[in-house]
Structures are given as structure tokens and as C-alpha cells.
Symmetry: C2
Subunit: 195 residues, 2 copies
């Protein structure tokens, strides 16, 4: 259901074609819920069949072709409200990095160290991406958010922006925890005389 | 491949039946890689077919029945070594809590606050479980680790224990980052005058 909620949330910024939804996904809600185009199109059609979005054909290109435009309808907005009311269901941990770390004795000191350095570098990159996105959210550099804010009453704009920022702050905190952990791992290898 | 690596890692503590592997999984490697029994048995048989483990029938119960016992062989140990040499492949973020947080405006102030309080409570519990496991690792209270250490040269014991501890420390740091994030969210709701 998360992909459905992600798409409803995206479309709630304003009507868009399936093509636009797929294009905008990666630079907005995709930051917190990754999905491939091959998942997005079928889910949009399913949402239409289940009555969560209305569709109409809109002109596309100069050859008289059309594309389907999706608009969240009242039932779709109800689904968004319900989603926010539902309790979260947390899944059990499946973390390949933690799994690897628990059995570093099966590698060499070099493989252990390079695993940890890669982990740091991966999450330093993730941290940077999340901070960049926070900057875009705050400076009006995210077109999906800009459009969303145009359709939101004045009094709610600060709130809507603050929640996007808050979500990305979670990515920053998570990345920082992973960096701290892997640095601790490198210290441990040194303490053990491995590196 | 992670389930396979998790099972190889578990069996590397000493030979065990499929039944024992399934039973011990949850209280050892399952802390970092959750798997259901319905996944464990077929994977063990696949590992046998692919020559990573040797099997023999061992007596079970008092009625002359037997069970299959699995032992990691040389090819299995090679697979563990290779796994530690391979670079990690990180998957794109799919975090239902971050997704929900980005669109809290679709809920009520009450639903937002209870989502965040639940998040704190979930990760406080996760943190406690990981700390309990660290305590067991250090005090000889994890039978799988105790058995593993019996089969490890003296000079490697501190290292093997330290890596288990290190892995669980990652769970602690992750849980603490999630708690800090959700607390920040509650502060934000208060700042916005929502609660």
C-alpha cells in the first residue's frame, strides 16, 4: 500500500499525466519511497479502477495525440486521510550491512576496513542528497512542492513545508547514525590490531 | 543471497539440524536478518544441492527417527569468505515512516502526534532489545556464540565477540536516531501550534 499512498500524495500536489507522475516521482516522494516506472504506471491504472483518481484525456504533442491525466478525487483524499490515521506496521530488521558486520571475522582486515569506508562514503552521499533536498524545499527549488503550496490555504503553507523538511531530516539523522557506526567500526579494527 | 549468508554464518558456529537452525536463527543472526521458518528449510535444502553444506542423518527422539544435520563444508566456508570480500549493494530508501512524515498535513494534529509517539516507543523497544543482546554477547548468554567461540582459536575470540557487539551497536545507534527524529517531530508540532 505504500506505493499507492506515495502516488496519491504526489498527485495531491495537482493533476498530472502518468508520464509526469513517473517523471516527478523520483524528485519528490521518491526521496522517501523509491519506485520504478514499471511499478508506477500499473498502480495508477489500479487506482483509477478502484475509484481513487479521476482521469481525462489531455492533448499531448503536436500530432493530435492524448495522454491520460490523473486527479485525486474525494475518495482518494479520504484514502490519504485514512492512511494518516492508521497505525504504522513496522517490519523486522533485514539489514545486509549489519549482517555483514556481525561476521567480519570471515573476511580479511582489509575487506572489513573497506566495507566500513564504503559504508561511510555511501551515507555521506545520502546525507548530502538529503541536505540538498532540504535546501530545495526551503528555497522554492522543488517544483512539485511549489505547485502543492499554490493549492494550499495560506495558513497551511508553513506546515506543509515543515513536514517535508522534517521527513528529510530523518534521512539526515539516519545517515549520520550509520556514519558514526562505521567510524566506530574502523576504531574497533584499530583497537583489535587488525588495521 | 542475504538469507543464504545468514544461514551459512549461523551454521558456521557448529553443525546443526534444520530444526535447530530454524530455532536458533531468531535468537542469533535473526537479530540482523529476519527470516521465517518457511524460508529457512527450503534454503537449507538448496544450499545442500549447491554443495555449500554436507548433510548426515542423526538420531532424533526415542522412536528410531532421524533428522538431517547440516555442516558447512569447505565450499561453504569459501562462500563466507567471498561474501565478506564483495562490495555491498545498497538499495534505495523505502521507509514508510518517512513517507508518512512527509505528508502529515493529511492527518490531524492528533494522528501526527500519535504516529510520532508510536515511533518513539517502537524504537525505544528496539534499542532495549539490542542492548539486551549486547549484554548476552558479553556475558556468555548467547548459546550460539558460546558454541562458536569453542570452535575458534583463542587469539580470535575477542575479535569474534567484538564484531557481534559492533553489529548490535549499529541497531542501537539506528534506534537512537529514529527516537531523536520523532522527538524533533513532536517539538515541530508544538512550534506549529498543532499540539
Amino acid at each position: 500500500m505504500s506505493l499507492r499512498n506515495a502516488l496519491l500524495a504526489l498527485l495531491s500536489s495537482g493533476p498530472m499525466t502518468g508520464y509526469d507522475a513517473a517523471k516527478k516521482f523520483a524528485s519528490s516522494v521518491g526521496h522517501v519511497w523509491h519506485a520504478a516506472n514499471s511499478q508506477i504506471y500499473p498502480e495508477l491504472r489500479k487506482m483509477e479502477r478502484e475509484g481513487l483518481v479521476d482521469t481525462r484525456e489531455v492533448p499531448w504533442g503536436s500530432k493530435g495525440e492524448t495522454k491520460t491525466e490523473y486527479t485525486v478525487n474525494e475518495q482518494g483524499r479520504d484514502a490519504l486521510h485514512e492512511w494518516q490515521q492508521e497505525p504504522m506496521s513496522y517490519v523486522a530488521d533485514r539489514d545486509p550491512a549489519r549482517l555483514k558486520a556481525a561476521y567480519l571475522e570471515w573476511g580479511t582486515p582489509q575487506s572489513a576496513a573497506s566495507f566500513l569506508r564504503e559504508h561511510i562514503s555511501h551515507f555521506e552521499n545520502q546525507r548530502r542528497l538529503a541536505l540538498d533536498e532540504i535546501h530545495r524545499v526551503e528555497s522554492g527549488g522543488n517544483p512539485t512542492l511549489v505547485r502543492r503550496l499554490e493549492n494550499v490555504p495560506d495558513r497551511d503553507r508553513a506546515k506543509v513545508t515543515a513536514f517535508k523538511r522534517f521527513s528529510y531530516e530523518g534521512r539526515v539523522l539516519h545517515a549520520e547514525a550509520e556514519i558514526a557506526w562505521a567510524k566506530r567500526g574502523l576504531e574497533l579494527l584499530a583497537e583489535l590490531g587488525e588495521i
